[in-house]
């Protein structure tokens, strides 16, 4: 057990835990952020995706010790000031979800791509999102939503 300090959704955060514990379960069980979903536990599905220093990572496969000193963003931290970000807004507009369980991971995965590459083509979007699983079959709409979000982010909209 040792204290781990990091920035969580813009706020300085400190937890005293076994540093080998998975980020996913520290977020859910210790910090009460249940928007990050458990889907497979082995990094295959993407439901537990969060951003660490703006890179998409699978929180089930990363230990809490590895985020010390870093910036962690979960789905709860994306709508700054109560306003949806461009990807969230596009998911609403395109009805880019059904059951919604993969949605937080999808949104964060797409957001990480667009932060790096706001001009992402459809092929680049498909390639980036290919490791995210959705069982309901909202794929077509998700790709459309990410394209819409890309256009909005290029235009300077958050």
């Amino acid at each position: 057990m040792r204290p781990v300090s990091f920035t969580l959704n813009g706020k300085p955060t400190r937890v005293t835990v076994d540093e080998n514990r998975p980020l996913l379960w520290v977020l859910r069980d210790d910090l009460g952020l249940t928007g990050t979903k458990f889907g497979c536990g082995e990094g295959h599905c993407g439901s537990c995706t969060v951003l660490v220093n703006n890179e998409a990572v699978r929180s089930c496969a990363m230990s809490i010790g590895d985020v010390a000193g870093k910036k962690v963003t979960t789905i709860e931290g994306l709508a700054a000031g109560g306003r949806l970000n461009a990807v969230q807004d596009a998911f609403v507009r395109h009805t880019a979800f059904q059951c919604g369980y993969c949605t937080p991971g999808m949104i964060l995965g797409a957001y990480a791509l667009l932060l790096k590459n706001p001009r992402a083509t459809r092929a680049e979007i498909v390639s980036q999102m290919d490791t995210h699983l959705c069982r309901c079959g909202a794929h077509v709409r998700i790709v459309q939503a990410v394209e819409t979000a890309a256009a909005a982010m290029k235009g300077g909209t958050r």
């Binding site: 514990r21 998975p22 379960w25 859910r28 069980d29 210790d30 009460g32 952020l33 249940t34 928007g35 990050t36 979903k37 458990f38 889907g39 497979c40 536990g41 082995e42 295959h44 599905c45 439901s47 979960t74 789905i75 709860e76 994306l78 709508a79 109560g82 949806l84 969230q88 807004d89 998911f91 609403v92 009805t95 979800f97 059904q98 059951c99 919604g100 369980y101 993969c102 949605t103 937080p104 949104i107 498909v126 390639s127 999102m129 290919d130 490791t131 995210h132 699983l133 959705c134 069982r135 309901c136 079959g137 909202a138 794929h139 077509v140 709409r141 998700i142 790709v143």
Partner: protein
């Protein structure tokens, strides 16, 4: 129902099923607010016989309309339904039906779903029945509520009821618009009971004003902000312990010995043993995982002697005797008329539901009453199971269904809900059971693997004269053909459902159950592949051949519509274009798909480039919702068609995660074009399942058109495609 019965508990805020952010138009907080003022009551009516109530499965629809609808003093209306929301959109469609019949704005309606203390009994959310079967019940209840409000208004306004009309939650005098009163004022502060002398009729489709117009999803903001709560996200007051349960290595195995001493040494771990159930509990999930891994268990295996390769031989020997599920004419006569009898056998594999949310439940016991938040398609049957397992009376068990992260039939079984309830009782603390992906695969009620044998024939005029169909293990849904064939027979050996571990009468090594359009995908694959093969033998375009052998006008209509949407040009297969057609009828809905594929002859890999769909589903309640379901069906259908297959050896399920069990991915998804046909004269039919039914066959037929190779087994993996190509 008395008003006291529907009053919500004081701690409702921590138990909200659908707790939206404040910016969301439909907010459960309004419901809480209105109930807190005690103005929840509307009308109680003698409704004996008014609602067609399907009995059995432990209940029936209530005849009291108060069970379905409340009008609050503030004008908000609450729609109460025993159905659940798992992504399919019943949360949007059902309130629309209520708003239509009650004449209120859809935005003024809140919805409470799947709570056994608050909602009317329901057998479960499956079979594309929410709108098709429960819809008429809900509409009738709303129509009667509206009629009661009109009678009340007639007395208040001193105007004959026949002169009154309703709109947007207001009753008004058609002869004098200044005479009007809102529903909310009629119900304000009063408890009203009223017996209707005349049962009102529901509206005709021509009179619909809100049904048929797309509405935004009520769950959108919850789901994009991470606020949507699923069962595993529920934290009861005081928190819950995670429970991990020791599982056998294979179905049929029994526990020989167990040593939990190492697990018990982990700080904060509590070990529970109840008969053969061993559970380790910890505040943190990952530490419960660690403890479970330290439990040493010896098992006695009792595996059935077959696997995913030898299962078909086993089915042919072990399947129950045939049942006739359809026949006409005489197959012997058909054989005489046939220019040639064509015999083919089709095979399908076990397929998993694999919802992204594994089964989860949280249980808390307070004053002897157990409340279970469960990801389930069947909250009321689950309540019964918990009552039986824990020997509790009905009033001591409540099941609440938060958002469900996908079901597809797999959450019709809710074993995890019983596990959580039992462990919470034993632990004396709230308990969370959240299955691992491995448990999800192990206890899934798979779509059964199956064998189908077809004998058919056509005469010299290329008209079908013989159809002799025998299906093993997939059941009779979608087994009956819809072609115009004088001599035909459909035999079924074994259902798509039944049984727990060790299988129904030893037929399956594990439980099987309903998987989105149960059995129909398998049956459509065989039937539509076979029809296609006959078309090729006849040297006819597959659309032309179907139309030649079809009489059902609804099917003819969808076939023509899909051809137009797709831009089909007639040519006999194999045309080397890689295009195909397949049709189906499911849940009362007619559907036809066309697909274009590319086949990589080196790797055997199939890419579905585009799919067109024409669907006739009667009245369409929420067109955007119907479209999402169709797209979802086509996308999900890619999986059972091309890659999904459960591998097993005896009772051991070899697939434990998504590394070996391959779901459809973004890079595989085709362009999808959909046309939903107008059919307002037909009541609303099912929408959640039909379009997935022809996916296997449409791809098989397009592969044949591309290559001349016919696939007889699903999934059509690269290895199987290559093997078929090698035979051409």
């Amino acid at each position: 129902m008395n008003p006291e019965d529907v009053k919500l508990p004081d701690d409702i805020d921590s138990e909200l099923v659908v707790d939206g952010p404040t910016t969301f138009p439909v907010d459960r907080r309004d419901f809480v607010k209105l109930t807190a003022t005690g103005l929840l009551v509307l009308v109680a009516i003698d409704r004996t016989g008014a609602i067609a109530a399907p009995q059995g499965r432990g209940g029936g629809y209530p005849t009291d309309i108060n069970a379905y609808v409340h009008v609050g003093a503030d004008g908000r209306v609450t729609c109460l339904v025993g159905k659940i929301e798992m992504g399919q959109g019943a949360m949007m469609a059902l309130p629309l039906l209520l708003a239509e019949e009650l004449d209120v704005a859809p935005a003024s309606v809140d919805v409470v779903m799947g709570d056994t203390d608050l909602c009317p009994w329901d057998m479960g959310t499956f079979g594309s029945l929410s709108v098709r079967q429960f819809g008429p019940t809900l509409r009738q209840a709303a129509a009667e509520a509206r009629a009661a409000l009109v009678e009340m208004a007639a007395e208040r306004l001193q105007v004959p009821a026949s002169r009154l009309a309703t709109k947007d939650g207001v009753v008004f005098d058609t002869a004098d618009a200044t005479k009007k009163i809102a529903y909310a004022r009629l119900t304000e502060g009063k408890r009203i009971e009223r017996t209707l002398t005349n049962k009102p009729a529901v509206k005709s489709p021509a009179a619909f004003t809100v049904v048929g117009k797309s509405v935004p999803r009520r769950d959108a903001l919850d789901k994009v902000t991470g606020q949507a709560k699923y069962a595993g996200d529920i934290v009861p007051p005081g928190g819950a312990l995670h429970a991990r349960i020791l599982r056998p290595p294979a179905h049929g195995a029994t526990l020989a010995s167990v040593d939990t001493s190492a697990a018990e040494k982990i700080a904060g771990v509590k070990v529970i043993r109840d008969g053969d159930t061993i559970a380790v509990l910890h505040e943190h999930r990952d530490e419960a995982d660690t403890a479970l891994a330290l439990v040493k268990a010896q098992w006695t295996r009792n595996d059935p002697p077959f696997d995913d390769v030898t299962m078909f031989d086993h089915f042919l020997k072990a399947a129950p005797p045939p049942q006739t599920s359809g026949q006409g004419g005489n197959v012997a006569d058909g054989e005489k008329l046939a220019a040639e009898v064509v015999e083919r056998t089709y095979y399908d594999s076990y397929v998993a539901h694999a919802p992204m949310e594994p089964h989860a439940a949280v249980a808390a016991v307070e004053d002897g009453k157990v409340t279970v938040w469960a990801g389930t398609q069947t909250p009321f049957p689950l309540k019964n199971q918990i009552m039986q397992a824990l020997r509790l009376p009905a009033e001591k068990v409540r099941v609440i269904t938060p958002y469900v992260g996908g079901g597809f039939g797999g959450k019709s079984g809710s074993r995890q809900g019983v596990e959580a309830a039992r462990l919470a009782m034993l632990a004396g603390k709230p308990v969370r059971v959240q299955w691992s992906r491995e448990e999800e695969f192990f206890y899934d009620t798979f779509r059964p693997a199956a064998v189908i044998k077809i004998r058919s024939g056509m005469d010299g005029a290329k008209k079908l004269v013989l159809w002799d169909y025998l299906v093993y293990c997939a059941g009779d849904r979608g087994a009956a053909h819809f072609y115009d064939i004088p001599n035909h027979r459909t035999l079924t050996r074994g259902s798509w459902g039944g049984g727990g571990g060790a299988g129904a009468a030893g037929l399956h090594p594990f439980a099987i159950g309903p998987w989105r359009a149960p059995g129909a995908n398998t049956n459509a694959f065989a039937r539509e592949s076979h029809i296609d093969e006959l078309a090729a033998k006849a040297g006819l375009d597959p659309v032309e051949f179907r139309l030649k052998n079809l009489k059902d006008p609804r099917m003819v209509r969808v076939v023509n519509a899909v051809a137009q949407k797709f831009g089909w040009t007639p040519k006999a297969a194999p045309s080397r274009r890689g295009v195909g057609i397949a049709c189906g009828i499911d849940a009362g809905t007619y559907v036809a798909l066309m697909a274009e594929v590319a086949v990589d002859s080196t790797t055997g890999r199939v890419q579905v480039k585009r799919v067109a769909c024409a669907q006739e589903m009667g009245v369409v309640v929420n067109p955007e919702g119907a479209l999402c379901q169709i797209e979802g069906c086509i996308t999900m259908g890619l999986g059972y068609t091309l890659s999904e297959e459960v591998h097993f050896k005896g009772g051991q399920v070899l697939d434990t995660n998504f590394d070996s069990y391959e779901l459809p991915r973004f890079s595989q998804v085709p362009k999808i074009d959909v046309v939903i046909l107008d059919a307002k004269d037909i009541p609303a039919q099912g929408g959640g399942e039909p379009a997935i039914v022809p996916m296997g066959a449409v791809v098989a037929n397009a592969i044949f058109d591309a290559t001349g190779a016919r696939l007889y087994r699903m999934p059509m993996t690269p290895a199987r495609v290559k093997a078929a190509l090698a035979k051409t």
